[in-house]
Amino acid sequence: MENRPRILLADDETAITSNLAPFLERAGFHVHVASDGQSALEQIAQYSPELVVLDVLMPRMDGREVLRRLRQAGNWTPVLLLTQVGEAAERAMALEEGADDYLNKPFDPQELSARIRAVLRRARPGQPSLASAWRLSCGSDDPARPPLLLDRRARRASLGDAALALTPKAFALLEYLMTHPDEMLTRERLLDAVWGWDYPAGTRTVDTRMAELRRLLQDNAENPVYIETTPGEGYRFVGRVQPLP
C-alpha cells in the first residue's frame, strides 16, 4: 500500500517535469506527470491525486481553465499554481479562483516541496480550502477575547463586533497570514505575496506593518495569540482559522 502523498505535476516543459518529478519523488511524494491541461484533467479523474502542481501556461487548456473546471465540478483537490506571467492581478485572480497557493517561476525546488507539504497539511479532504473561503474566523482560548473575523469580499476585519481600522496593505497582510496559518512565512515571501516586490531593504517594511497589525489586534509579541515571530526566520499565524459559510 502506497502511503506517500500522490501528486500530479502538470507542465508542458519536459525539461522541467523530467527533473522536477525525480526531485519530488525523492522528497517523498508519488508523482504523476501531465504535459497539458487536458491530460491533467484526465489524470486527476483517473488517479485522484492529493495535490496538483499546475503550470499556468500550457497547450490545449491552460492551468487556470483546469482549475476553474475542477472547482466548478466541486473538486477541491488542493492546487498549487506555477505562475508564469507573474503579474500581481493574475496571482490575485488565481487565489480567487480557488488555487491554494502559487509559486513564481523560476523557483527553488526545495521551496516547492515545502509549499506542497504546507498545503497538504492545511488541506481538509473534500472541502474548500481556506484560500478559497470568503469569510474566515479565528477564535482563541481566552473567553474574554472576541473572535477575529475576516471578510475578504468586503475587505473588512473585526474583533467580535468592533471593526478594525486596517489600511489596505495591513488587510492584505492579515488575509495572507490567515489563509496560510501554521506556516513559517519569511519576510521575503510576505513581501512577494502581499507587496509584489521583495527588494532586500523591504524586510523592514514587513516588520513595520506587522507591528501595526499586532497593535490593532491587541496581540502581544511576547505571548502571541495570533502572530508569532521566529527570530531570523519570519512570522507564523498561530491562531486556529476556520472558514465561515
Binding site: E13, A15, I16, N19, L20, P22, F23, R26, L82, Q84, V85, G86, E87, A88, A89, N104, K105, P106, F107, D108, P109, Q110, T167, P168, K169, W195, G196, W197, D198, Y199, A201, G202, R204, T205, T208, R209
Partner: protein
C-alpha cells in the same frame, strides 16, 4: 501669464506705427501706385498693422509645426518605451522555464548526497543570481500595473526611519549621515502615496550614497516644502557620477563606471524613478565629477502636495 517674445516682436511694428501716427501731424499724401490720397497716419497704421498680422500668422504657424513635431516625438518615445518593456517581458518569460528546469536539475545533483564539486556550486550560485535578476525585472514591470496605495504619508517619520535603518547596517556603522528636516514654521506636511514604496525609494537613495562613497565622506538627507511640493535631497561629497553616466543611471541594469565592482542589481534607481513618477513627482540628479571637479552627488525627489 507670460507673453512669448515672439508675439511681442510680431506686434512691434504695430506699436511703432501707433507711436508714429500719434507723433505725426495730419498730412494728406499721394499713395504710391494707387490713385487716391490718404492720411499718412492712417497709412502707417494700416501698413504696420498688416505687417504685425503677417508676423503673428507666421509665429502661429511655426508654433503649430513645433507642437506637431513635439507630439510626434513624444509618441515615438512612448512607443519605443513600450517596445522596450515588451521586449523585457518576453525575455523574462522565455528565460523562466529554462531556469526552472536548471534549478530542478541542480537540486537533483544536490540530492545525490555527496559533497558537490566546486563547478557545480558555482553553477548553482549563478543560476540563483539569474533567477533573482529575472524576478526583479518582473517586479519592476509589475509596479506599473499595480494599483498604488494613496494614503497620507508622514515624511518626517519615514526619513528618520530610513536613516536609522541605514545606520544600523554593520557596513555603515559610524558613517556620517545627517538628517535635516525643516521644522519651522511647520513640520513637513504629509504627501499622498504608498508609504512602503516611498520608503524603498529613500532607502535606496541613502544606501547608494553610502555605498558609493567612503568613510571620510558625508551623506546628508534634507527635506523642505514650498507649499506645492516636498523636496527631499540625498547628497554626498563622495567621488560623484561622471557626466557620461549621469543620463543613463536611471535605466534598468545600467551600472556606471564607478559602480563596477560594487555589488548591486542595477535596478535600484530605475525602481526609484518609476515609483516617484507614479506618485506624480520627479527624481533628478546633479553631480560634479568631471576632470578637476570636486565630486559629489545630489539626488532630488520632488513629491507634489
Amino acid at each position: 501669464m507670460k507673453i512669448p517674445l515672439r508675439v511681442l516682436l510680431s506686434v512691434t511694428p504695430l506699436i511703432l506705427g501707433v507711436a508714429a501716427a500719434l507723433a505725426l501731424p495730419a498730412l494728406q499724401v499721394q499713395v504710391p501706385v494707387l490713385i487716391f490720397r490718404a492720411d499718412l497716419r492712417n497709412l502707417i497704421l494700416i501698413l504696420t498693422g498688416l505687417a504685425s498680422l503677417v508676423l503673428l500668422a507666421c509665429a502661429l504657424r511655426d508654433w503649430q509645426l513645433a507642437e506637431r513635431q513635439r507630439q510626434a516625438l513624444e509618441e515615438a518615445l512612448r512607443q519605443q518605451e513600450q517596445a522596450r518593456r515588451r521586449f523585457l517581458r518576453r525575455l523574462d518569460h522565455e528565460v523562466k522555464n529554462p531556469l526552472t528546469a536548471m534549478r530542478a536539475a541542480l537540486a537533483n545533483l544536490e540530492d545525490a548526497g555527496q559533497e558537490q564539486p566546486r563547478p557545480v556550486k558555482d553553477i548553482n550560485l549563478q543560476v540563483e543570481r539569474l533567477s533573482q535578476l529575472v524576478g526583479d525585472l518582473r517586479k519592476l514591470a509589475e509596479l506599473e500595473e499595480r494599483p498604488l496605495e494613496r494614503l497620507p504619508v508622514d515624511l518626517n517619520d519615514l526619513l528618520a526611519e530610513v536613516v536609522e535603518m541605514a545606520l544600523s547596517q554593520p557596513a555603515y556603522a559610524g558613517r556620517e549621515l545627517h538628517l535635516v528636516v525643516s521644522k519651522v514654521p511647520w513640520p513637513l506636511p504629509p504627501v499622498t502615496g504608498d508609504r512602503d514604496l516611498l520608503w524603498l525609494v529613500f532607502y535606496n537613495l541613502v544606501d547608494n550614497a553610502l555605498k558609493y562613497s567612503e568613510r571620510k565622506h558625508i551623506v546628508e538627507v534634507r527635506a523642505q516644502e514650498d507649499g506645492r511640493a516636498v523636496t527631499v535631497e540625498v547628497a554626498d561629497n563622495g567621488p560623484g557620477i561622471p557626466p557620461a553616466d549621469l543620463e543613463r543611471i536611471f535605466e534598468e541594469l545600467y551600472r556606471g563606471v564607478n559602480a563596477r565592482g560594487i555589488e548591486g542589481s542595477g535596478l535600484g534607481l530605475a525602481l526609484a524613478q518609476r515609483i516617484i513618477q507614479r506618485h506624480g513627482g520627479s527624481l533628478r540628479v546633479r553631480s560634479r565629477a568631471g576632470p578637476g571637479e570636486p565630486g559629489g552627488v545630489v539626488f532630488t525627489v520632488r513629491l507634489p502636495l
